[in-house]
């Protein structure tokens, strides 16, 4: 028997209180775990066009299949729900998180959890190995996520319990609500907990996670630590002062968005750099914190004296520019407040940037927004919006149902100004300068797909010393050679090009799906920013991943075998969103990005070309084996991925594309 997995799915029905387990074995080899396993369980447990707040709608939590197996970088969990945040389409929404919950679930003896039903009273799930119980959460209902975690550890009398919980935002069914545990990337899923009267899932386990070859696992880790040490020395990377690319990224990036896609010109403003590096980092940086089993910590902890501390990194740090804020201390405190309320700071900030644009152009006034001023850069706008959404007061009543709801209520041009994809606001990426990223956003199953739209297909021709996204000339040359060999054209990885993008995007999306299914941190599993020799670990292949899966499971996976799993995960996710209404027409991003050119900065004047964009879509569908006219998968495509049962059901729903003529 293959090892590495716990081999069990935990099933909980909150309506009846019934708790049971099912084997996680055959599906494990097809979908691994994490995001892929969740997609399969979602397909099995959800209904077509299910309401996100239907008591029967599943909430699925899981550990990536390599989480808890001791491999450095494999620690991620995944939560999948009928997305409340994708208000215009619902269907699948998911989020990945690091830290320690996923390994703990494996120590407790489970790979994943399917929660259905709705409890009469607030409850939380407590898991201690075989002892799984629903406990009264009345005492913590209404409390912030910080206090909730502390109180649960206290109540369960165990400081090592790992808690994933919601705050007031989730309880009050705000679609911006999150499940809080560790650093996360993805769509908000917290309202799905709230709708079930589910406050948290608290996990503790004391069992071993078996691996096929423990010496091989240790050796892979040893070699990696040595390699990283060498790379740090070679490149002079100091990773312990909070000044790495993860934090300062988008102020220096060519495509960093300021406001509601209103400017890019912050790149060269020394006051911005100073605000970040000297003032904020200098005054507030405490230290780095690592996820379970990863000795390369990348989660900087900041503290504002007298207010509190919080990890703030990477994706969730890219938003202050969107609301024109240079006062990073206030931005940090807003982020911390939102984490405590259990809500997505980026989703809120992007909404605020939209309101600021409306306000500036006189489309709305203080009176429309409960007297709150939405002057650019005013921290109060963020604090007030967050609070009102979490507690569903004033304009937060409508906004908690999604920005589209508020836009409709505000009337006038508000809806035309709102840049969204299926109801989720569009966040950081400058699609006008990155056609491949635009294609990824339009097509990805969940929307807001950071993990599917970076790295390999976004190469900027600028030196590394110029900051985020910069690559040295030698690496540029090598990257292009790699791209030509891999995708048939050098443009496939060039940020601003259209040619070859469907190929590189599929490659990228499939591997992101593999990483998310293994529970692997994308920073660790990717062969480097551009995939070129000389990048992160000096290896442009994903052999890194394959040899790790083999060492842990004993199944001789190679790169091609893993890639097929990625293709399968993207295939089942496509089937799910098509089942729920996705078509070629709705694989789209707003007209804005085709009409309004970038106003300033290094990429000034760029906008998307409709014809070229649609041509990329054609090519993408063809490469995937989906129907070009509808975007529906074909029966043969699903069957080739081993998804025969899915194909049959999709056929019954008339959601399959026609087979090509003569094929």
């Amino acid at each position: 028997m293959a090892v590495g997995w716990a081999g069990k799915t935990l099933q909980i029905d909150l309506s009846t209180g019934k708790i049971s387990t099912a084997p996680w074995k055959n599906e494990a080899k097809m979908f691994m775990g994490g995001r892929g396993g969740n997609a399969w369980l979602f397909w099995k447990n959800s209904k077509r066009n299910q309401d996100p707040f239907d008591p029967d709608a599943p909430v699925i939590l899981s550990a990536g299949s390599l989480a808890g197996t001791g491999l450095i970088g494999a620690s991620r969990m995944e939560v999948t729900v009928v997305s409340p945040a994708k208000t215009e389409s619902h269907s699948l929404g998911n989020v990945g998180m690091g830290s320690s919950w996923a390994p703990e679930l494996k120590f407790a003896g489970y790979d994943n959890i399917v929660i259905k039903g709705k409890s009469d009273i607030p409850v939380y799930v407590s898991i201690f190995n075989d002892c799984v119980e629903l406990r009264d959460a009345s005492g913590v209902w209404g409390k912030g996520t910080f206090e909730t975690q502390d109180l649960m550890r206290e109540e369960l009398d165990d400081d090592d319990v790992q808690v994933a919980c919601i705050g007031p935002a989730g309880e009050n069914l705000a679609i911006q609500a999150t499940v809080e545990h560790g650093y996360r990337s993805g769509t908000p899923v917290g309202a799905s907990f709230g709708a079930k009267n589910l406050k948290a899932v608290a996990v503790r386990g004391t069992n071993p996670v078996q691996v096929h070859d423990s010496e091989a696992v240790l050796d892979l880790n040893r070699v990696l630590v040595e390699k990283v040490k060498e790379a740090k020395k070679r490149e002079g990377i100091v990773r312990d002062k909070g000044t790495d690319a993860y934090l300062q990224g988008f102020i220096v990036g060519d495509a960093g968005v300021v406001g509601d896609y209103e400017s890019h010109a912050w790149r060269d403003r020394p006051d911005i750099k100073r605000a970040y590096e000297e003032n904020f980092i200098g005054d507030n940086y405490v230290k780095e914190i690592g996820c379970f089993g990863c000795p390369f910590p990348c989660q900087p902890l900041y503290e504002v004296e007298g207010e509190g501390a919080m990890i703030w990194r990477c994706y969730p740090t890219y938003w202050p520019w969107k609301v024109w804020m240079t006062d990073l201390k206030s931005a940090f405190l807003a982020h911390r407040m939102m984490a405590d309320l259990g809500m997505d700071s980026k989703e809120i900030a992007t909404t605020v940037s939209w309101l600021m644009r409306l306000y500036r152009e006189g489309k709305v006034t203080d009176a429309d927004l409960d007297g709150v001023s939405f002057e650019r850069g005013d921290p109060k706008a963020v604090f007030e919006t967050a609070r009102k959404v979490a507690y569903r007061e004033g304009f937060g009543k409508a906004l908690g149902n999604g920005p589209v709801s508020l836009a409709k209520e505000l009337g006038g041009d508000a809806l035309d100004y709102l840049l969204h994809n299926q109801g989720l606001t569009l966040r950081t990426f400058e699609f006008r300068a990155e056609p491949g990223t635009a294609l990824g956003e339009a097509i990805s199953a969940r929307g807001n797909s950071l993990r599917a739209t970076t790295y390999h297909i976004v190469l900027w021709e600028k030196p590394a010393r110029d900051g985020y996204g910069g690559v040295d000339p030698q690496e540029v040359k090598e990257s292009y050679a790699w791209s030509k060999a891999k995708f048939g054209s050098k443009d496939a990885i060039k940020a601003t090009a259209y040619t070859g993008k469907p190929q590189s995007l599929i490659y990228e999306m499939n591997w992101a799906a593999v990483a998310d299914s293994l529970g692997y941190c994308t920073t660790m599993i990717r062969p480097g920013r551009t995939g070129a020799p000389g990048s992160q670990f000096g290896d442009p292949s994903y052999a890194f991943a394959a040899e790790r899966v083999a060492a842990v499971t004993g199944i001789p996976f190679d790169e091609a075998g893993l890639y097929e799993i990625g293709e399968r995960v993207c295939g089942i996710e496509r089937a799910i969103v098509v089942r729920d209404g996705r078509t070629r027409e709705t694989d789209a991003i707003p007209d804005f990005f085709f009409k309004v050119p970038i106003p300033d900065g290094y990429q000034e004047g760029r906008k998307l070309d409709r014809k070229k964009f649609e041509k990329m879509k054609d090519e993408y569908y063809q490469l995937r084996g989906w129907d070009v006219a509808t975007g529906f998968p074909r029966r043969s495509t699903l069957e080739k991925l081993g998804l025969t049962e899915v194909a049959t059901n999709m056929g019954k729903m008339k959601k399959l594309g026609p087979e090509p003529q003569g094929g």
Binding site: F107, F146, P208, V209, L218, M310
Partner: protein
């Protein structure tokens, strides 16, 4: 009678713990349990990261592992003489065949460095992997290091004096 430290004819190495450098990742627990039990199992790791956390306020981590005391209370307290010092590594070693699991060693250890194995039900503790500790190899933040005892001492002094030295530079710049 066990020989005293003076009679051990090797450079005395120590597993040095610098709590300020610990990032709380528990890779040491992974390394230890994989090496010693063949599976990932923090419960059976000889080193544990004790976390002091208050969400939104502080996150502190303290690696707890046997320090191979110069006056090993565990050995002196053991009623069946199951604990002895390894002459090559200076590590205190539990003879699992002799141990009866009475837990007296755990009671007297001042730092929680020795515990009961939940599977074998006898005492278990860090044996320095026979002089090649696995946890140290994977601790990239260098909270754990395996160094000659004398070097560990001066290194700690150097670390702690760094702030004073900065003050010294500052004072000079002011005069």
């Amino acid at each position: 009678m066990a020989p005293s430290l003076k009679e051990v004819n090797v450079v005395e190495m120590v597993l040095d713990v610098d709590i300020e450098k610990c990032v709380g990742c528990r890779t040491c627990e992974v390394a230890c349990s994989l090496k010693n039990t063949g599976a990932v199992n923090p419960t059976r790791s000889r080193i544990r990261i004790v976390r002091y956390e208050k969400q939104g306020a502080f996150h502190n981590f303290i690696p707890m592992v046997c320090q191979q005391c110069s006056t090993p209370l565990c050995m002196e307290a053991c009623p069946v003489n199951a604990i002895s010092r390894d002459l090559e590594t200076s590590a205190m070693i539990v003879n699992a065949d002799m141990c009866v699991g009475c837990k007296v060693c755990a009671m007297v250890c001042p730092i929680g460095g020795i515990s009961m194995d939940p599977v074998t039900h006898v005492a278990f503790k860090c044996d320095l992997c026979g002089g090649d500790p696995e946890c140290v190899k994977l601790c990239d933040s260098e909270a754990l290091s395996y160094v000659p005892k004398v070097k560990a001492d001066i290194r700690r002094k150097r670390d702690k004096s760094r702030k004073l030295s900065e003050l010294f530079v500052l004072m000079e710049s002011l005069t």
